[in-house]
């Protein structure tokens, strides 16, 4: 019975933390946020060198062969730094091929995804909250795809796009293929830019096994982990602010009203760490609990993160409402985490059904 992290896992998190503190401090984060690129290619290369790009790709294909928990621990730290990175889409695209690819498909793509030569992303939703595989309409006719997908993260830098099809199948589309068109969306979270993807008779191959639900579950866990890391960071920023900001001749952190708000923020987020840990562990080890655990973790943590972000703005007062304040960067990350792959009510309803309620 060990509900804790290994030394390797703690080391992975510490390594990433120091990398972000050094290479993407708030000043650099701000520059990327205010530009259009949505990430710094040098940062992505650094993550690739740390092995993050191939973390869950089997060793036989050049990856580290680790589990979803390890990936989620990375997502947590990236959330802490509001780190602009194609990590999320790349991880899910890789997992899709790990879980659904034929041997030939794995052989063809996984080594390049692990080495960072190919950057992947996913195209799931088709608008109107159609995130669930059962809602997808895109069909493949004569080995070709025609149709539209909304909200594809970091599609501008992706080489390979895993596209969800009607019936929960997944297809592989190369961005450079003929008939692929991208249109930038004015996305709220500039650390994870979104694109509308139009396909016009694009040649696409389908993955051997329909793994869409599993990939969705992994995505929910990663968003939950990101939400935990991000919300924890906001609590930390608010506490630090309360220790330095003075009003009425004392630091505001001495006022009970502020103290209690910060204590409530802590009480809301800190115990929920185990929720994403457990959901990630269940994904690889407890098949009966995996889907429901992922749904509850995403719903709970992204809801708590959104509330934490609102509280953080309030704790910072007027400055918290400005573009100049870093709080807005995490506030918008909360909006992304909450809405991407579907808002909490849908996942709660699914969890209720899965429980037999």
């Amino acid at each position: 019975m060990d509900f804790g992290l290994s030394e390797e896992q703690e080391l992975l998190q510490e390594t990433l933390r120091s990398f972000i503190a050094r290479d993407c401090p708030p000043t650099r984060l701000r520059e990327i946020f205010d530009a259009d690129a949505g990430h710094d290619p040098a940062h992505w290369n650094a993550l690739v060198e740390m092995g993050v790009a191939g973390l869950v790709i089997p060793e036989a294909y050049g990856g580290a062969g680790l589990e979803l928990l390890d990936l989620a621990l990375v997502a947590e730290v990236l959330g802490e730094g509001a780190f602009p990175s194609p990590f999320f889409g790349h991880s899910l695209a890789s997992l899709a091929i790990v879980l659904g690819g034929s041997d030939a498909q794995k052989e063809s793509w996984l080594p390049r995804l692990a080495s960072g030569d190919v950057l992947g992303t996913i195209a799931f939703g088709e608008g109107d909250e159609s995130w669930d595989p059962s809602a997808w309409q895109m069909r493949r006719v004569d080995e070709k795809l025609t149709g539209m997908k909304g909200y594809v993260p970091h599609a501008n830098v992706a080489d390979l796009i895993v596209v969800g099809l009607a019936g929960g199948e997944l297809a592989l589309v190369e961005r450079s293929a003929e008939g692929v068109k991208l249109e930038a969306i004015d996305a709220v979270d500039r650390t994870r830019p979104l694109y509308k993807l139009s396909l016009d008779a694009v040649v696409a191959e389908v993955l051997a096994v329909a793994a869409a639900s599993r990939v969705r579950d992994a995505g929910l866990v990663l968003l939950a982990a990101d939400a935990f890391g991000s919300a924890s960071k906001l609590v930390e920023m608010s506490v630090e602010y309360a220790k330095t900001r003075q009003q009425f001749g004392q630091v505001i952190g001495q006022f009970q009203a502020v103290k209690h708000q910060l204590a409530d923020m802590t009480t809301a987020i800190e115990p929920a760490r185990g929720l994403f840990w457990h959901a990630a562990y269940a994904f690889d080890h407890l098949p009966d609990e995996a889907e429901r655990g992922a749904a509850l973790a995403k719903a709970h943590l992204t809801d708590v993160f959104m509330q934490t972000a609102r509280d953080a703005v309030e704790a910072h007062g007027g400055i918290g409402f400005t573009w100049e304040s870093d709080v807005q960067i995490w506030f918008k990350r909360a909006m992304f985490d909450r809405a991407f792959l579907g808002t909490p009510p849908g996942h709660r309803e699914r969890a209720a059904t899965l429980a037999g309620w």
């Binding site: 804790g4 992290l5 006022f255 103290k259 204590a263 800190e270 185990g274 309803e349």
Partner: protein, 402 residues
């Protein structure tokens, strides 16, 4: 991370199951005894076998085993499964005994610990006073040393079980000249002493589960003090810590939540089970997010403790988390019982993970507030989290009254 127990622990569990199967419930002549006697006989076997009173040295009647939080958890799980009487419950065993083991004089341990862990000596706690709740250290009950005895005058309140207790551990002001915290001593008082008057205190549920205790020239021997004069505040700190752990149990949150789900399944709303109502399903799933977080946070604290460490600030959040959850659960339950919420609850027992019928949930709705107050109010918990956990400065008023 590995949620299975290792072979060593599974072997321990198997051994324990065999012990329970052989000893509980009692067979043969043992089965003829009263429940109280059966429990006493069984508990002694369990102490001898090392399953109960593990933290208590053998010389004081315990089984003196090395601390092992995983074994402790397995014991709790298996005793619950077998419905076997485990550790004696109550404030004496859970709060006084650890304090005596840590801070008591030798004769006090010998005299008080063995009967208390056997359930033969019952205790109550004399802490709160009408004028001293959250600001406990401002307490005014006086104890004056006259010859070989302390003479006690004052008034304690919220004293659970004072009407049935044999003894009270009590905080009294013995050094009126000293500063607030430094003027308190921790005394042990025989509840049969002349001058003690116990009155029931009726709470909003209609029943009286607490007492008030009045002291008029009550006498207790000079050596019935734990620690030195003026050290009572420090001595009492270890006990309060124990009470917080006791109330902050994630297990009870989980069990209560499961019973809430059953209530939603068995209650009709608009001609169909309430659990089919989308709003109820949302609320249940939302509460479950908090319950699971609490349970896994407990796993994490358990793991940290088993490695000799601590889960940091997480352990300071247990009580507030648990009372927040209790609140939400009982609020939804009150909604589910509908019209029954118009009726007075009919004398149901104190807070339970499995409230009986609609009235039981109405009682629970009120008791969830009591739990948020007892042992340190929610607002005091927030102060502790903010000041000790987050490192925020103390309020000026609190600083100045030290």
């Amino acid at each position: 991370m590995d949620l299975k127990y290792s072979e060593e622990y599974e072997a321990y569990r198997a051994e324990l199951r065999a012990f329970l199967a052989a000893n509980w419930p009692p067979k043969g002549a043992g089965a003829e005894l009263s429940f109280r006697e059966q429990a006493a006989v069984f508990r002694q076997h369990a102490i001898d076998a090392g399953y109960v009173a593990r933290g208590i040295p053998k010389q004081y009647g315990g089984s003196e085993r090395a601390a092992d939080v995983l074994k402790a958890r397995i014991i709790a799980e298996e005793f619950r499964r077998a419905k076997a009487p485990g550790e004696v419950r109550g404030i004496g065993a859970s709060m006084l005994v650890p304090t005596l083991i840590e801070k008591g004089a030798e004769w006090q341990k010998e005299r008080f610990v063995p009967p208390t862990i056997r359930g033969e000596m019952v205790w109550c706690q004399g802490y709160s006073e009408p004028g001293s709740g959250s600001d406990l250290a401002s307490l005014q009950t006086r104890a004056e040393l006259v010859g070989d005895e302390w003479v006690i005058n004052g008034h304690k309140v919220w004293t659970s079980g004072a009407d049935q207790a044999d003894f009270m551990f009590c905080l009294c002001r013995t050094e009126p000249e000293a500063k607030k915290h430094g003027g308190i001593s921790y005394l042990l008082i025989d509840m049969k002493s002349p001058g003690i008057e116990v009155r029931p205190l009726r709470q909003m549920t209609g029943t009286a589960d607490f007492c008030e205790v009045f002291f008029s020239d009550v006498r207790t021997p000079k050596d019935h003090i734990v620690g030195k004069r003026g050290e009572g505040w420090i001595v009492s700190r270890s006990t309060l810590k124990h009470e917080r752990d006791m109330i902050g149990s994630a297990e009870s949150s989980l069990l209560t939540f499961r019973n809430l789900v059953r209530l939603a399944q068995s209650t009709q709303r608009g001609g169909r089970p309430a659990i089919e109502d989308p709003a109820i399903r949302q609320e249940l799933a939302e509460i479950e997010g908090y319950v699971r977080s609490h349970v896994y946070s407990g796993y994490r604290q358990l793991t940290a403790a088993s490695k000799g460490g601590s889960a940091g600030i997480a352990s300071m959040l247990n009580k507030l988390t648990s009372s927040n959850i209790g609140h939400r659960i009982s609020r939804l339950a009150l909604e589910l019982v509908g019209d029954a919420g118009l009726c007075s609850p009919n004398g149901d027992p104190i807070m339970s993970v499995n409230p009986r019928g609609e009235s039981g949930w109405v009682t629970q709705y009120m008791w969830s507030l009591g739990i948020a107050i007892a042992g340190g109010t929610a607002n005091i918990q927030r102060n502790i989290i903010a000041e000790r956990g987050l490192g925020l400065p103390r309020e000026r008023a609190a600083q100045e009254s030290r």
